[in-house]
């Protein structure tokens, strides 16, 4: 199953020490995730994941690798504690999922709340057949406004960080040439 393949790629990412390898594996991981999302009927999410997760993220990571050292150093501290912490948390979470409704049942609590109203009324209210679009842009438009605000803030942050760096680099050059 695709999910098992995802787990295998994740193990490879944990073990891989060359950062180029990590980035390429992360890209493969994103494409696998997109395939899983298509199987789960989330076609819009899959499309976004394939373009953003596998495309833009990979480009950004590679651009960063262009500027920094590309091999990971071996750890000097022992890493048993993080292993135990993650295994413990994972065990508790798995135990918690055992009482959740099984996969694919139509009468689970999640399908009883507002989702049926969105599906039933989308044509009448917005005349958009794609329910995901109508919820994103119409019923929950404020969420999307918040999302764009986050992007805007992050963009400003990246610009400020990198611009300051460039100016300092220029000053350093001037000092060394003097």
């Amino acid at each position: 199953m695709l999910l098992t393949l995802l787990a295998v790629v994740t193990i490879a990412i944990v073990r891989q020490r060359s950062l180029f390898g990590v980035v390429i594996l992360a890209s493969i991981y994103s494409f696998l995730m997109a395939s899983v999302l298509i199987v789960l009927d989330a076609v819009d999410v899959a499309m976004t994941e394939a373009s953003v997760g596998a495309g833009v993220s990979t480009v950004l990571l590679l651009a960063t690798l262009h500027l920094v050292k590309t091999t990971e150093m071996k750890r000097v501290r022992p890493h048993l504690l993080p292993l135990f912490v993650s295994l413990g948390t994972g065990a508790v979470l798995v135990w918690g999922t055992l009482v959740l409704p099984p996969f694919g049942t139509p009468d689970a609590a999640i399908h009883k709340h507002v989702a049926p109203r969105y599906i039933a009324d989308t044509i009448k209210d917005t005349n958009v057949p794609n329910v995901v679009t109508s919820v994103l842009a119409d019923y929950r438009g404020y969420d999307t406004l918040g999302e764009t605000t986050v992007i805007f803030t992050a963009g400003i942050g990246v610009m400020l960080l990198l611009r300051k760096a460039r100016r300092r680099g220029r000053r350093d050059d001037a000092e060394t040439s003097r």
Partner: protein, 121 residues
């Protein structure tokens, strides 16, 4: 037999939580900052799975209204996860910009080496 049914019904949750914990492990245990960010994005993608999986109905189809279908999967998690993907992208970009800055200031992106430099000064 009920044990087997429980295992197959909740297998997807087990894998999702495995991915989540692998991401957490990378973030905590690895010192390299680029790798930490990759771990963080693995954690985020596992959250997409955690949300989208319960929304699937067996026999349902993608939530695009068409007269020839009657059963649709739940569109609400899809919308929330679209937002989450874009926000995750923003955090990744900001984190990588910080990594580039740290690399300029310290000449390294390994946590241990950065702590050593701090101790020296």
């Amino acid at each position: 037999m009920p044990t087997l049914a429980i295992v197959t019904d909740h297998y997807h949750y087990a894998i999702t939580i495995f991915l989540m914990m692998a991401g957490l492990y990378i973030v905590v245990a690895r010192g390299n900052m680029v790798k930490k960010l990759v771990g963080l994005s693995i954690f985020q993608t596992s959250v997409y799975l955690l949300y989208v999986e319960p929304g699937k109905i067996i026999g349902g189809t993608a939530p695009i209204i068409d007269p020839s279908f009657t059963v649709y999967s739940n569109p609400l998690p899809h919308v929330l996860m679209l937002t989450a993907i874009v926000v995750g992208m923003a955090t990744l970009a900001l984190g990588l910009a910080l990594v580039v800055r740290i690399n300029e200031a310290y000449g390294t992106i390994e946590e241990d080496e950065i702590f050593e430099r701090d101790r020296e000064t």
